[in-house]
Amino acid sequence: MGSMAWGDFLVALVCCGATMLLCRVVPLFALKGRNLPEGVERALGFIPPAAFAALVANDLLSPGMFDAGLWPAAAPLVAAGVVALVAWRTKSLLWCAVSGVAAYALLTLL
């Protein structure tokens, strides 16, 4: 794995920063209190569940992950279960991060 050079870093910073700024600022100024078209609003509403599910799946699942046996591969899934429980009970990002890292560290060091 290579490190990211300044050139690549600047491209990522400018592009991600620009799309982020547009997404954050344009709707607020464009709407002036009116609502988004309904179809657009609905599509935008589906992005968080879809995007977060894709991100979680990308971190946790890969084909052939159980090829070397059930246990070490299942550790992140068990830790994820712990986090889901904490998320459901507390709705707190802080507690999720803390419990997730602790559970994952404990399970992989077992």
Partner: protein
């Protein structure tokens, strides 16, 4: 504020692992300011994703901010443009929740909301810088640091509204990611999976209306 530190430090550690220095982590935190995005960049880079794919995936995830922005439009009516801009530019997943609750209670102003945002941003930037320094000083296992991000994504996923259409979006996105990986396309897996999830949920909700 503590939440930003707990997430910012692992984020800084992860940034240091792809060779970013304290200045670069500070610039990202100050100008881009996105927890999810700043975890995604090093994580996808380590996974070997091309830069264009990283930017496309991060930008797609950025679009969730449009909803927050639209939600604050009524509160910013009659507010000076410069203040409204500063407020809009510093909204995040976490401070959105806090400010929405405060605005609905009443007696809350855009000025005070912006102060909350800027305080959050400062603690985020400082903890990222601290994370880079920690990451360079001691070898924290990357898998453990990056699980902080996985945990946050799980939290953000679990706290979505549990509607049938959202479930369709999430399940389709998971299947899309696994299918992409099985086909050897791990670079665009997040983007393709998420788009498939949005499309499936839209189709599901349209079908539900007609039927």
């Amino acid at each position: 504020m503590l939440g930003y530190v707990a997430i910012g430090v692992p984020c800084g550690i992860l940034s240091a692992s792809i060779g970013l220095d304290a200045l670069q982590a500070f610039l990202l935190s100050a100008l881009f300011y996105s927890g999810a995005g700043q975890f995604m960049i090093p994580n996808m880079w380590i996974a070997g994703a091309p830069l264009a794919s990283i930017i496309a995936s991060v930008s797609l995830v950025n679009t969730r901010q449009m909803l927050y922005s639209a939600a604050f439009a009524p509160a910013c009516r009659g507010v000076r443009k410069r203040l409204a801009f500063l407020f809009a530019a510093t909204v995040t997943d976490e401070s959105y929740g806090v400010n929405v609750a405060k605005f609905s209670e009443g007696g809350w102003s855009v000025g005070r909301a912006t102060a909350v945002n800027l305080l959050s941003q400062s603690s985020w930037a400082l903890s990222n810088v601290a994370g880079v320094l920690v990451g360079n000083a001691v070898g924290v296992p990357l898998a453990i640091a990056s699980f902080a991000m996985t945990s946050i994504f799980i939290c953000l996923l679990v706290t979505q509204k549990p509607s049938a259409a959202n479930l369709v979006a999430a399940v389709t996105a998971v299947l899309g990611v696994v299918a992409c990986k099985a086909a050897g396309l791990s670079g665009p897996a997040i983007l393709v999976g998420a788009l498939a999830g949005v499309a499936a949920a839209l189709a599901f909700s349209w079908a539900g209306r007609r039927g």
